[in-house]
Symmetry: C2
Subunit: 490 residues, 2 copies
Amino acid sequence: MLLKLDGTGPAYLQVYRAIRTEILNGTLSRGMRLPSTRSIATDLSVARNTILQAFDQLLAEGYVTAHVGAGTFVADELPDLMETLHPAASRPASGDQTAFGLSAYGQRAQMWDSPLKLRPRPLPYDFRQGHTDIQNFPFEIWRKLLTRRARSSNAHSFVYSTPEGGIDLRRAIADYVRRSRGVRCHEDQVLVVNGSQQAFDLIARALLDPGDVVVMEDPGYLGAREAFRAAGARFVAASVDSDGLTLDTLPPLANRARLVYVTPSHQFPTGAIMPLARRLALLAWAKSTGCYIVEDDYDSEFRFDGRPVEAVQALDRSGLVIYLGTLSKTLFPGLRLGYLIVPEPLVAPLRAIKFLADRHTSTLQQDALTDFITEGHFERHLRRARKLNGARREAMMRSLRTHLGDRVEICGANAGLHMLVWLRDHAEAELPSIMARAAAAGVGIYPVTPYYFEPPRQAGLLLGYAALDPAAIEEGIARFAKTLNARKTA
Amino acid sequence: MLLKLDGTGPAYLQVYRAIRTEILNGTLSRGMRLPSTRSIATDLSVARNTILQAFDQLLAEGYVTAHVGAGTFVADELPDLMETLHPAASRPASGDQTAFGLSAYGQRAQMWDSPLKLRPRPLPYDFRQGHTDIQNFPFEIWRKLLTRRARSSNAHSFVYSTPEGGIDLRRAIADYVRRSRGVRCHEDQVLVVNGSQQAFDLIARALLDPGDVVVMEDPGYLGAREAFRAAGARFVAASVDSDGLTLDTLPPLANRARLVYVTPSHQFPTGAIMPLARRLALLAWAKSTGCYIVEDDYDSEFRFDGRPVEAVQALDRSGLVIYLGTLSKTLFPGLRLGYLIVPEPLVAPLRAIKFLADRHTSTLQQDALTDFITEGHFERHLRRARKLNGARREAMMRSLRTHLGDRVEICGANAGLHMLVWLRDHAEAELPSIMARAAAAGVGIYPVTPYYFEPPRQAGLLLGYAALDPAAIEEGIARFAKTLNARKTA
């Protein structure tokens, strides 16, 4: 095996990428035993510890498996973590392999290399952010609503619909966001989309030309960042403090911004809640700059402490805010349903772009969702889900305090379905081995690193808890704490 | 009422657009009586006949209603036809009204002005192409499959999936297109998309930069053309003869083509079937030109006469063909499910673009479709649908012959679910009044004009028949023939 290092970034990541490439190429085929760390270290003239770190990361991501006493083997099934530790670093070096070349967009888009790869066998204690509580979703009701609509007498649910979504669903959504979030809108400003990812994409297409400046929270949500990056955005990283996105440290380039992306209700991933004064400052800044605010209200339904703050959209008097919500957190992610609330002049262009993108969102599920909302099931389910998630969040806090105490710092736990946990005694570079040891104990933990433009120094974990019951949370955190305390074995 | 004409195109269309704008603005509000044609003609100093023609078109599209002896009134409910007669002419003249401007893509996209507007009350005899036979779809089975998957024990149907679609569905699709269409592919080349519109969009994004040359059939499918146009395509119109797209009359610009869009199994809308020799010539031309072939196999499941010809993809040895199929014709359009079969080097870029576009297609319906195919329901339904559609097609042919005889020329009836009907005695410019009279008799007929780059001289109708039973077809064509024979009343 002849490994080629690409000379970019930390040595262990270079080795990791080189081995991963051989695995993905098939040079190292499934089930094959890897050479010893010692022999690779000698071949490459690097420290053996570097190879060990690379193996740890391959192990954590599921590319290899370790058998005590027998060595390290290429995994039988390869799909790996959703978030690789350094997505930018893991992009294909090879570039365009197509017969006649890709468009500029296609070339940028294909750099997105880690689209939701799931573990072949889920870990028993998996704290992946974005997983939701499928077990407690009222499927009997959902099935009833689906089957009621899925009759030939309800032809409406099967024929072509309008690109902006069905009028009944748009009314139900407008009514819901007005009541629950203070959003000021008419149903004509609602656009039904296939989850928030399509919302980012439609916005990028409507508003961004290559080279346009986008202000992103740093750290911030990858799905939005990647959609804007593929559109050719030039990013300005806005730092985030305990009140969310900060304006006063923005560089001069920010004055040319076309968009600012912000998660004011529960900053992703830090969980900061933006206070009213800063919301008003953000609106004033956007107005003077001439840029739209993309307000991603992805999990505002779940709030455990403190008074809810109304949406930035609710304060907007100038039509600058594009508000988006998703049903992925409240119903389930596989549904692929979300909504945009857009300023009136953007309605027609976004409707046209939605038509060109996929004509309209699937009708039957729109209709079932309409009934789910208008017949009161949605808010009943939300009340129940809030209680369940509140108990899970309590279990997280309690377990982390009990098993890790002062060794962790918890951020953003007062709302949403995830928390950011800093490991005070560990550097970011230790994460691959920390994750690998946790995975070996059946615990899935995830780094916050990919959400940063520049990796933080401290080891930070993004832990979602909505899919685990309190007992599993307690056991998972206890196991994780044990692996964190155990000495590293090589 | 002060009408402003925009000075573009035929005078009657200028008047039509001006009145339509006033209706859409609300200056002419719902239920309001329009001024007399005579007074408008005087105001604008144009012939009264021009105003009558404009009124006819407004009537045909459902913007106004006529009450004998009482005059013409703005309709109570406004949404109109899917295809306006001249979509390009009806584009907003006003341009960008947004606060901070649209992207270049957004500006091009918003020109698409007629995204599926449906009649408020469907006509009893509606020959709209694209409508399918909802009444005979096996909904009991579809409901059973949906509810079987929609249980919390089947968590798979609710969590995030992979951007390319579920592996079981991709296997089922690969197997189906291999058997039924001779398509040569591995399941990894299958990409599940939200109907063929998303397929066009993903292809455009992967391959087209603004200014890139695309060869389009003329006439050709609007959904594809508009997706390519919005991407900034420069079109070369390829004329269509009885064997489909012609290569020998292409202008030199075609040698710079990046894409050629083609519907070889049943040319849309003429219905021409491309013979083998021309398929091979197309492949050779594309290879020497260095351009991809987008093969849209939208209705190959329905073939009534002659031997089926295998897909162009089946003949491709160079990885030039991007093949696409849809479930809109065989299941129902509101489902929004289709598939791409792509050359291997395009798999990764298209998967990345699909992720960025909307992460993945809704899981539950993918799973229900998987079961529908693998348990044999799909091919059973197809056999039944072929028979039913064959009978409907016979009813069309018989009725047209009986009631219109030599006055019509029928094209493309040997396959698919629509036919192109030329009215030998009528010019294209007569279509608005012909459509208006048919609509007044409860018959929806649709012009072929929008599918042409330049309107044809003769009046051509695109008539779909899949949604009407034979008795309704007979009655609808009989009524239409009567209105065609009747003298025009003003």
